[in-house]
């Protein structure tokens, strides 16, 4: 039996297993902490920084997804400062690529869109960058539109950690980072891709979608990993 730890999150006293992260505990107790890169069943990379929280006595902000709980911890999940910063991050994302909901397959099912609505982001103070990234529609079943990607790397982790194919990776660095398949070859020609579709169903936005979806029709499957086991070799 793991040791039980008592802590406070958003003012509520909670008991939880030792070794869990703040995010785990918050989710189990229905306390909302925004996230984008985190996905149940995949490793945590601490990349989106949306889950940053304040812990009493710690001068720095801490990522809820990568911080394990400690006895007596007092966590504030949405202080005014953190709220302001989260909004800025969502605005930065909206300005970074071409997130045009009205023309997006994931409209209505997009985590970025939902997050913006929940955090009250209705416009962005930063000018749009309008990158012109090439859409890869070479795969028979899936589309990849990097213009809608937020670089959360869920696809990469799902591919590597669950499927073991390692098709996805990040190319370039900084603002020029972009997700690519294999050595930046067309997805449809990828020798490593098993077409398992895990990446498509973990994608928070419309960057990865199933072919044949029109605006708003791409609905990612809940509980994707259990579902996909049966799908593994059926495709292509």
């Amino acid at each position: 039996m793991p040791k039980i730890i008592t802590l406070k999150i958003a003012g509520t006293e909670i008991k939880a297993d030792e070794g869990s992260t703040i995010l785990d505990v918050a989710r189990t107790n229905d306390i909302f902490i925004p996230t984008l890169c985190s996905f149940k069943g995949l490793s945590n990379v601490g990349a989106c920084r949306l889950c940053m929280v304040e812990v009493r006595g710690v001068p720095r902000l801490l990522p809820a997804c990568a911080t394990t709980i400690v006895e007596g911890m007092d966590v504030t999940v949405d202080s005014p400062k953190v709220g302001k910063y989260r909004k800025m991050i969502v605005e930065l994302l909206l300005a970074e690529r071409n997130h045009i909901c009205a023309a997006c397959v994931s409209n209505g099912h997009c985590e970025l869109q939902a997050l913006a609505q929940r955090l009250g982001v209705h416009h962005t103070r930063y000018p749009y960058r309008y990158p012109r990234l090439k859409v890869d529609a070479s795969h028979v079943r899936f589309n990849y539109d990097p213009n809608r990607c937020v670089l959360c790397t869920r696809c990469m982790r799902a591919c590597e950690e669950v499927e073991g194919a390692r098709t996805w990776n990040v190319m370039g660095r900084g603002i020029n980072s972009v997700m690519v398949t294999d050595l930046h070859q067309p997805w449809g020609e990828s020798p490593s891709c098993t077409s398992c579709s895990k990446c498509v169903h973990v994608c928070p936005t419309g960057a990865l979608s199933e072919k044949g979806c029109a605006v708003g029709e791409m609905v990612p499957r809940e509980n994707v990993f259990t579902y996909l086991k049966s799908m593994r070799y059926s495709g292509r």
Binding site: V45, G46, R49, K84, M88, L151, G174, N176
Partner: protein, 1053 residues
């Protein structure tokens, strides 16, 4: 050659010492990358040839770098029995003389900068010899004074490619000692006791880190040396490895032994080829000597070192990114926890330390943690190596005890900015660090103090910046760097830095809005607090610190579209134009003059500067200090060219043409009435522009004639008053009405002016003399410079006596001195600092001296000496000496006990002027502490709406062009408010000027006008400078390099 025990080590030590002190002359050539870049290899070869040719028996050996980069290539020469002589700036041509001297067993003193009699290597000691009294000790010359060499203990003295020389100075003995400890925890305790903190910048206690690793149980542990030194301006680690690679290996050996690691990895930049080569060689040597490998020194300890060349990603300096990189992935950081000590390289416990941290370890083991902790401050112990670069005379590697005040580094060791410019700031810690303004240079260098002012210690890069550096551009430069080095993993750093860079580029490009500063600040704060790794968390530091300390520069870019430093090229025409307070289009009027289009040149000059004849004679000409021609030969004589043009106008038929052209520019009458108080240069400039903009202008002046200080203070021999009158006629001719004998508060009331006019501009100047506060100052024989000069200017008789002492060093002092001289006096100027610090125009000082004015420096007035009848007989002066540096980079004049009395019958105090603030206060205008009027620095509007103030009244006593510039700026703002449009740029218009750059610099040497000989001019008030001739003016104009022309090269491609 394997060493098995202490005896083996001692044997090698003896062999090594025979190399260090071979019993014959030894020449060491500093062969670091820095030395080689300056020609050390050629020097080495030349010495080799000369030794051969002259048949001299000496040992020639490469050594590392001794740190004094400004004096590279460095060569040290040791002749048995004598001190080691360090020679600087040695050229291959010097080889013959050096070898010749050595042949005679004499050190070559000609190039010697210092000597070393004995050297404490801390792990060993070398006695070179005593003597050479003519040479200063190494730690007596400014660059080395105050330095303490712990990390650099061997650098520049031993051959880095020879393990025996390292062992000779006690190398690997500390490691041997460590292996003899009964318990490894003793080593860790010693490191803890030393309070050594990570030298990569974060400052985490090394002993604590080691303790964590040593207590972790694992089948495999790693230690890593972080040598991925990537910040611009930093090269400490490169030099440490190039000059003394074995100290790093020994440090890592001790660390591995203490923590139980069996493998060490040095992650070294591939861009450091020499360091890679030397370290590889050193590792091979150490392996050959049985110091790494299996069963080291006959013990059961096994350890190997692997060298990995980093592929050049700055982010790999971040430990988790480095681990990713070592595992063969792209360098991107992982979240911590888990920390490397728990789960590092290949999932095994790992300890990462910076090069310099490792290099301190052997000394700590050899001398003890207690010894080490005595150095530095209580919390920041030991020393730190800094690379001192940028706008500094003595560049180089400096090792200092922590806790040293920053100003010692900048002014004592570095000797300030070359060319005497003011040091403005220091960037410490590279792109992750902060800008420290000169006002904060009394901060001590330690982890806590630097963090407190928003900077970081960082790895040790110190980039010095002076007044020619734009702080907004500095921030842009560093953000551009971190932006391109960001790995892209986390959003704040990836997308945040991109937006921050976009805003910075908008500001430097003159496109920004006021809200941009706030957006930038918020972004910076967010990136700092939200980013995943050290790169993002520190990347905003340059922005945040420049915003904190240099906000006015951001505001200047935003509001005035101006880059004072002359860096942001979109904001100015050319460096000279940018430095000119009036922004005269200098390269363009030079081109017009060169083409012989004098009327066009005259029109342009008048539009830019309504008093070109006066300024052409007396301006401080900041343009010359910025002129790029000085890099070819000498700066352009721009001031005298525009004087030439104005002289052409006043001397002939051009006058009517210029008047007609200016009148033709006058805009339609607006019906707005403006009152100006004060007919000095500022009021005149405002009046000129407001009249041309179509307003109805009246200037109220307290005195009988217009001109202000130009008429009543500037001596006739510098500025003939009939010329000034002609300039004033042009202004009056444009419709400006003058009313004389109208003093603010007496004849004119501000309330009335405000009621009767649409706007009021106050420019009443600084006519109150500052008091010296010395006894006897009230005597009628003690004058204030402005009163004296005014009396002479009015042609009134003055009882100035025979012998005069002038106190002060500004233009008023020199003017008073030369005026008194012309009245037949014997004159001495007494100034409390030195000549180069006199604020007066340098040429004026030279001229005064030529005429026979005596200059006495480093004296401060004490009291007026009088006889029994109260007549002045002299002035008592106290000799001052220059003490330590103040924060403005000048040395403080300190009192001494020595006093002298200079006999004289009259004294002129020229120690400054201030405005008469009384009338302003009475009318409710906000006045600053120094009695100047408080006005906006762009529009010059005061707290009373539509009441503006400018000139010396606002800035304090300044100079003619600066004062006119405030009038010009106020005129623009007044017009903008009254008409709702910014019309001044349209009034100034554009001229069709040829846009071509001479392929080669033309025009030969600088042309200077003929001067009346000193003997002839000292007895009268005739003008001294005769002005350029037509041929000279044309030739001088042709010297211009046309920095205003952009985009010609691409057209030719």
């Amino acid at each position: 050659m394997r060493i098995h025990d202490l005896d083996g080590l001692h044997d090698i030590r003896r062999t090594g010492l025979m190399k260090l002190l071979p019993g014959k002359p030894r020449i060491g050539v500093g062969m670091g990358t820095c030395g080689m870049g300056n020609g050390a290899r050629e020097v080495f070869q030349a010495l080799e040839r000369e030794l051969e040719r002259q048949g001299v028996d000496a040992q020639l050996t490469p050594v590392g770098c001794f740190g004094f980069c400004a004096a590279e290539p460095l060569v040290n020469v040791h002749i048995p029995g004598l001190p080691l002589a360090v020679l600087g700036e040695v050229k291959p041509d010097d080889a013959a003389a050096i070898v010749q001297a050595i042949a005679l067993r004499q050190p070559p003193l000609e190039k010697a900068i210092c000597k070393i009699e004995e050297w404490d290597h801390l792990t060993g000691h070398v006695m070179y010899g005593r003597g050479l009294p003519e040479l200063p000790h190494w730690n007596e010359i400014p660059f080395f004074k105050g330095q303490k060499k712990i990390v650099l203990r061997n650098c520049g003295l031993i051959n880095p490619e020879d393990i025996e020389e390292y062992i000779a100075v006690g190398g690997y003995h500390a490691f041997y000692q460590a292996t003899q400890k009964p318990n490894v925890t003793e080593i860790i305790e010693e490191v803890k006791k030393s309070k050594l903190r990570g030298r990569g910048g974060a400052g985490y206690p090394t002993g604590v880190k080691w303790d964590l690793l040593s207590k972790t149980v694992a089948d495999q542990k790693y230690i890593i040396c972080n040598a991925d030194e990537g910040d611009p301006g930093a090269y400490m680690n490169r030099n440490e490895i190039e000059s003394d690679p074995h100290m790093l290996i020994e440090g890592m050996l001790i660390g591995a032994f203490a923590t139980g690691a069996s493998e060490g990895i040095v992650y070294l930049r591939a861009e450091y080829p020499l360091a890679v080569q030397r370290l590889k060689r050193a590792v091979a040597e150490a392996r050959e000597f049985g110091l790494i490998g299996d069963n080291v020194l006959g013990t059961s300890f096994c350890f190997d070192i692997k060298l990995v060349e980093g592929a050049g990603a700055f982010v790999c300096g971040e430990e988790t990114a480095m681990i990713e990189s070592l595992e063969g992935r792209a360098g991107r950081p992982r979240p911590r926890p888990p920390f490397p000590a728990q789960k590092g390289l290949w999932g095994k416990p790992t300890n990462i330390n910076n090069v310099e941290t490792w290099c301190n370890v052997p000394v700590i083991v050899a001398r003890g943690g207690a010894w080490f902790s005595e150095i530095g401050t209580a919390q920041s112990t030991g020393t730190k190596v800094f690379s001192l670069v940028g706008k500094i005379r003595n560049t180089g590697l400096v090792e200092l005890p922590l806790g040293t005040p920053l100003k010692n580094v900048i002014y004592d060791i570095g000797q300030g900015s070359p060319g005497g410019k003011r040091v403005k700031a220091l960037q410490s810690g590279g792109p992750s660090g902060g800008c420290i303004p000169a006002d904060n240079f009394d901060v001590t260098i330690d982890y806590e103090s630097l963090a407190q002012i928003g900077a970081i210690m960082g790895s040790g890069g110190m980039v010095v910046m002076d007044e020619d550096n734009c702080m907004v551009d500095v921030a842009r430069y560093f953000v551009e760097f971190t932006h391109s080095e960001s790995c892209g993993k986390c959003i704040p750093c990836r997308a945040g830095l991109d937006q921050a860079l976009r805003i910075l580029k908008k500001i430097t490009g003159g496109q920004a809005e006021e809200s941009d500063i706030q957006d930038l600040e918020e972004l910076g704060q967010m990136i700092k607090e939200m980013s995943l790794c050290g790169l993002g968390q520190t990347a905003p530091n340059p922005v945040l610190t420049t915003l904190r300390y240099f906000r006015h520069e951001y505001e200047e870019h935003l509001r005035a579209r101006r880059c004072r430093a002359g860096v942001c090229e979109d904001l100015f025409l050319s460096p000279c134009e940018n430095s000119c307070p009036l922004h005269m289009r200098i390269p363009q009027f030079l081109e017009l003059t060169k083409e012989g289009r004098i009327a066009d040149a005259a029109e342009m000059i008048w539009l830019d500067n309504p008093l070109p004849g006066s300024t052409g004679r007396i301006c401080q000409h900041p343009c010359e200090s910025q002129c790029r021609r000085k890099t070819v030969d000498a700066p352009l004589n721009m001031r005298e060219v525009h004087r030439f043009i104005s002289d052409q106008v006043f001397g002939g038929p051009l006058l009517d043409e210029v008047r007609t052209r200016l009148a033709g520019r006058r805009m339609a009458a607006t019906g707005k009435k403006i009152a100006i108080v004060g007919a000095g240069p500022s009021g005149l400039a405002a009046g000129f522009y407001l009249a041309l903009l179509g307003h109805d202008v009246t200037i109220h002046e307290a005195r009988e004639e217009a001109g202000g200080m130009l008429r009543y203070s500037l001596p006739q021999y510098r500025l003939p008053k009939d010329m000034l009158s002609k300039e004033l006629e042009i202004i009056a001719g444009l419709g400006v009405t003058f009313r004389f004998g109208q003093k603010l508060g007496a004849g004119v009331s501000l309330d009335v002016l405000e009621a009767e006019n649409d706007a009021v501009f106050l420019a009443t100047g600084t006519w109150k003399a500052a008091r010296a506060g010395i006894t006897g100052e009230e005597s009628p024989s003690v004058w204030h410079a402005i009163h004296f000069l005014e009396q002479v200017a009015r042609g009134e008789p003055t009882q100035i006596g025979q012998k005069v002492v002038v106190i002060g060093g500004g233009n008023a002092a020199v003017d008073s001195a030369r005026t008194a001289l012309r009245l037949g006096c014997e004159v001495t100027i007494a100034y409390r600092r030195e000549r180069q610090e006199m604020p007066a125009i340098a040429e004026e000082v030279t001229d005064a001296e030529a005429e026979g004015v005596r200059l006495q420096f480093l004296v401060a007035p004490q009291r007026v000496v009088t006889d029994k009848r109260g007549r002045v007989t002299g002035i008592e002066l106290m000799r001052t000496k220059l003490g330590d540096y103040t924060l403005d980079g000048r040395r403080r004049p300190m009192s001494t006990s020595e006093k002298i009395v200079v006999p004289c019958d009259n004294i002129i105090l020229a120690i400054g002027e201030r405005p008469d603030a009384e009338p302003l206060r009475r009318f409710g205008i906000h006045v600053r502490e120094n009695d100047t009027a408080a006005a906006d620095w762009v529009t010059y509007e005061t707290n009373r709406p539509r009441v503006f103030a400018g000139g010396d009244l606002v800035t304090g006593a300044s100079n003619v062009s600066s004062t006119m510039a405030t009038g010009k700026a106020a005129a623009r703002a007044i017009d903008h408010i009254l008409t709702g449009q910014d019309r001044l740029p349209a009034l100034l218009g554009t001229f069709d000027v040829a846009q071509a750059v001479p392929p080669e610099p033309e025009g030969g040497a600088r042309n200077v006008s003929e001067e009346m000989p000193a003997a002839q001019r000292r007895a009268n008030f005739a003008e001294v400078m005769r002005g350029l001739t037509q041929a000279q003016a044309a030739a001088e104009s042709g010297r211009c390099l046309r920095c205003d022309v952009r985009e010609t090269c691409s057209a030719k491609e």
